[in-house]
Assembly symmetry: C2
Homo-oligomer: 320 residues x 2
């Protein structure tokens, strides 16, 4: 039987690299798009098993040519400005990459006969502000985004659903909640903390950690569970449907910090860094994951403790 | 006292031209942007009272320069691909003009000290599909757009609200339901019908009218009431708030057709033209207008009969 084939945009990124591993492990032929000369260290262990092609996702004609050359069974569209905090600093680029980039890939996918699924990666950040703020969200929760990232992903998801409905494109929509793990960059809170712990352990930073607001609560998964969800949406997701990928529980950033401090080999003090305070943050994000569990067999295999330990070990290696 | 000043993007368009008249009547100094050599016949009677500047809304630097040169008290951002049916035929242009164009104007407005209000024109089309389909919508109804126009306006409104919240831009958001009147082009249903009646009356079309789906119900206002609402949102709207501009009632397209047929000077037969059937249409759009009535003093002054009579007379002049 012919192996299934997948094209991953953003393959060199955090989730992209784990998705590539997940798909290789499950017998896929994996291709991926690389922007300019972006670093490929996230995929260095699997690079010999991958077909890589250069692509600027903002060029519609190039997107079309790449898709038409590779003719994948599945397109996993992960290329994005993925950091909420960075999106405030590069609003326009966030809208361009996340919205126009998605539109370009949808257009390219539409012209590919035999495509089995276009998997779009949405985000729980699209929910923004809602009431009551502590409620557990289902996939029906309306969007009310408050960050450029959230606005861009909301628009991109809406245009993806339009392509499903109007152009009969077989799409699957993942709506992941926060996820972390090794390889995530330090614009995200868990690697920002883990990196500082590692720097303090080797004496490259004084024994004081700089943190932002510790009160937000987030539904934190391991990236390895999330990319398994992406594969399952490709294989089993009902066309046009949206799936939460989450744990169903929310923990505060303070809990994350305390857990990391316990894993640290040195005693560490904590101080607030105002530059790390994000404007108008969402107090709680917690996602009901029953639909993915029941329809796809989605499972949480990694505990928060596992994720934090692995992420800290990753940064211990990085800072050496 | 110094006259208030307003800049209207899309001033040569249907609603733009009426808004210019509304503002002139109420003592404003009115400027407007014109794209390339687009026709100015909609504003021919007031053109001597207007300051017109050339602008391609897709050029961020040009938007900035125009806003900074005119330094208006109010910016009414109307420039858009405004036809739902046309948006299916020019998806990308719709996203570009309606989203990127709004972003460019927001960016330009943000740098203008003393701006009193940036009035963004959203759309009831953003609501898309909802349940039950016959319900009367309030401003809290979530967006679930099904047309490129709806997706583009939803994204543009979300980014406008982001500018209000994050950049403290004083914005007012109009969310008009369908509106018509003289000068609207024939991509919209009422002028499409009225034009055919006029053509048939003078013998330039056989006695058969071509129509699309007559079952959708729409909340139909007169453009002259809607642009009065835009002015009121500028003057009295609470910053960051959204206001429905609507009648609170919905009538079927069949009722519109029957009323026009009664106004016609000839007996006219009706036939369905499949090319006029719009994909996945919204069955009913009806908007609760209490917020605008109570907070702004918004009023419906024109009946549907008035609007249809005036529109038919306009087309009788046009086809001569």
């Amino acid at each position: 039987m012919k192996k299934p084939s997948a094209l991953i945009t953003g393959i060199t990124g955090f989730a992209g690299s784990y998705l590539a591993e997940e798909l290789l492990t499950h017998g896929y032929t994996v291709s991926g798009t690389v922007y300019n000369n972006e670093p490929t260290n996230n995929i260095k262990n699997i690079i010999k098993d991958l077909q890589l092609v250069a692509l600027d996702i903002l060029k519609p004609e190039k997107c079309r040519r790449v898709v038409n050359k590779i003719k994948p069974d599945y397109i996993f569209h992960l290329a994005a400005i993925a950091s909420v905090s960075q999106s405030f600093k590069m609003e326009r680029l966030t809208f361009n990459i996340n919205f126009d980039g998605t539109l370009n890939m949808l257009e390219a996918a539409r012209e590919l006969p035999g495509l089995k699924k276009f998997i779009f990666i949405g985000s729980a950040e699209c929910y923004g502000i809602f009431s009551p703020p502590e409620k557990t969200l289902t996939e029906n929760q309306p969007f009310n985004p408050i960050s450029p990232y959230g606005v861009s992903k909301a628009a991109a998801e809406q245009v993806t659903r339009y392509y499903a409905r109007h152009h009969q494109l077989p799409v699957g929509i993942a709506r992941p909640f926060n996820h972390s793990g090794p390889r995530q960059n330090e614009h995200f809170v868990i690697p920002a903390f883990a990196r500082q712990v590692a720097l303090i352990e080797v004496g490259r930073q004084g024994p004081v950690m700089k943190v932002g607001d510790l009160s937000p609560q987030r539904d934190l998964s391991d990236v390895r569970d999330i990319v398994c969800g992406y594969r399952l949406i490709g294989e089993k997701g009902r066309p046009g449907e949206v799936y939460h990928l989450s744990t169903g529980k929310a923990v505060s950033i303070k809990t994350v910090l305390d857990t990391l401090l316990k894993l640290a080999h040195k005693t560490i003090k904590v101080t607030t860094d105002k530059s790390r305070l994000r404007p108008n943050d969402i107090p709680v994000l917690r996602g009901n994951n029953k639909k993915a569990v029941q329809q796809l067999g989605f499972k949480i295999r990694y505990s928060l403790q596992d994720t934090l330990q692995d992420t800290l070990n990753y940064w211990r290696n990085q800072v050496q």
